[in-house]
Assembly symmetry: C2
Homo-oligomer: 352 residues x 2
């Protein structure tokens, strides 16, 4: 058995892999320790592909004159100097696909050697070594074929890629799987609630509608911005009612949800448009819950909006992680042809 | 009985008082209808004092050369043209103190004529008329003596000022009463939880500590940034344990809470400093809840931080309104000499 030099006790969040600056979390670190040897709760992945974050890739293209060779050199330089793929300008990373190569004896992740997995924690905190110079990548797409290895900590998230679905489809589902999982949990706390999903025809929105129904919603309302989206969502047959409203107009949104059978006991905001906070609150019944999944959500607009409306509603920050979130989302997709066709019609980037 | 011209049905959120632009909420309106006559669910207040929002007053002072006469003229102009005191530059307002003058027969607020109240909804959405030209105000303080009237909608918040406490103290308590109310509700969902309050020596923090204990916390941990605050909180005797940590340093914060008896089942963030999201998440146990009351909270930092740590925690946007919040906070203050002395030592602006 290989000797394992372990200079300090491991930390489930990977503090032991931080080289500089001292004492920060791996995501905030400038440089990570990428040694192959695992701490007892770690897992090593043989990497097959990196999916760079779209904002990061765009920045790299622009700062390198859309020259694929220079983009590739820049990515190699970041990974070599930082020990992780975190764009210093955008701060963002991406995720990876690979195969489990070794599992530490104390790993709690439930993975086995040979599992083909996607990591659902960010590359910004994942120790990474590339050993092929990214030779198979032309630097012109955020899909990066890659040979090398990555390390997952005790507290991490990786999902086994199912064999019955195309990889690209599974990844698209996993990318938004936090929304249906939290929706399911919240809906389960109510008795036969009315659930409104703002942005119901999107990927996270359609899965959230399916999750709400499966968790016991009496009525699901899909809110969309215009006729074309309404037709798409109607064909997918995943909402009990489809209604059209501008989510940035509180009065119009609340009226549309009301007419569709609201107010909602649970309102899920899945549309990445700023200014939806007031409408979501106004469309929600007293004692109800609003779950904000949109990264365009303004914390203060939500807090002050609810206060200004004297609204006794619970407002949740959509945590991207709920245990079992990937499995739940995949099973919702398998069980619902309409959701699957919606994902396919929206275009799933082919990952091979 | 006075004749009441009511041209359209009233709305509990005051849509019927919006003159321009059409169809927006009163807070977003340029101009409100300030007619004296009440819709059936409204209440009219005889105003005694406006408390301008600090950011708004600062902006008015700076844009008017710190000339009290000009500041006063600017405020009068805003109120006359908009029908509400909403600074067009900052978007903010403030609150008011006055006496209930008339109660519509369908008002759900539980107020009686003659009650001395503070409005806990913002001036940014409250129809307001000033009839003394603010003659008693020198334009040099955000405390504005004022004669005139204001209108509260069906869905609004006003708290009766207690007779046993100085007005300034009651107002200071009401200003932060959302935090202890929501803390109490969340703590009550757990069985004898550990509760950490970040910024425990502040006004909202100390009330939240008291609320947590009253709601069944087994252990309350007050986190403060330095020795002086620790001494203050220690003397107030409102936390079971006081610990010092920089809340912007996730690793240090989590370690301090751990040593004080954590991780916390409920973590309440009451400190108005950016960058506390990761630490709050890391200091919280699996299955726990983080309540963000700080307006410096970044929605995306909270959402991505929890995901990056694979943290199964519930994250709440601190809604400033929970029914009964003012009464709860006032009774906590009355019942806890340490909290009261902390408020008094922190300086409560005298309102007369």
């Amino acid at each position: 058995m290989e000797e394992r030099p372990v200079p300090q006790p491991g930390s489930p969040v990977g503090l032991h892999r931080v080289l500089a600056p001292a004492g920060v979390l791996p995501q905030a670190a400038e440089r990570l320790d990428t040694r192959r040897e695992l701490w007892p709760d770690e897992v090593r992945i043989r990497v097959e592909r990196l999916n760079l974050d779209a904002a990061s890739f765009r920045q790299l293209e622009e700062s390198n004159g859309h020259d694929g060779e220079r983009v590739r050199a820049a990515v190699l330089d970041i990974i070599a100097s930082r020990g992780k793929m975190q764009n210093p300008e955008t701060g963002s990373g991406g995720m990876l696909v690979g195969t489990v190569e070794e599992v530490g004896p104390e790993s709690p992740l439930g993975l086995a050697v040979g599992d083909r997995v996607a990591t659902l924690v960010s590359l910004t905190l994942t120790p990474l070594v590339v050993d092929d110079g990214l030779a198979a990548w032309d630097g012109r797409s955020e899909q990066v074929p890659c040979h090398g290895y990555a390390v997952l900590f005790g507290r991490s998230i990786a999902a086994v890629l199912p064999e019955d679905l195309p990889t690209a489809l599974s990844l698209a589902v996993m990318d938004v799987c936090g929304a249906p999982a939290l929706t399911s949990r919240v809906v389960g706390r109510y008795n036969a609630p009315v659930v409104a999903v703002i942005g119901g025809a999107g990927k996270s929105g359609s899965l959230s509608l399916a999750a709400a129904k499966a968790a016991g919603a009496a009525r699901t309302i899909g809110v969309v911005p215009h006729e074309a989206e309404a037709a798409l969502l109607g064909e997918a047959d995943v909402a009990d009612v489809v209604t059209i409203a501008d989510a940035r107009d509180p009065v119009a949104l609340a009226a549309a949800v009301e007419q569709a059978g609201g107010p909602a006991d649970v309102t899920v905001v899945c549309v990445d448009v700023p200014g939806c906070e007031g409408g979501a609150v106004l469309a929600t019944a007293t004692g109800g819950t609003v779950v904000f999944f949109s990264m365009a959500t303004s914390f203060s607009a939500a807090a002050l909006g609810a206060e200004g409306l004297a609204a006794d509603v619970t407002m949740l920050v959509g945590n991207g992680y709920t245990p079992g979130h990937a499995d739940l989302a995949l099973s919702l997709l398998r069980g619902h042809a309409g959701v699957r066709s919606l994902f396919e019609r929206r275009g799933v980037k082919m990952v091979r």
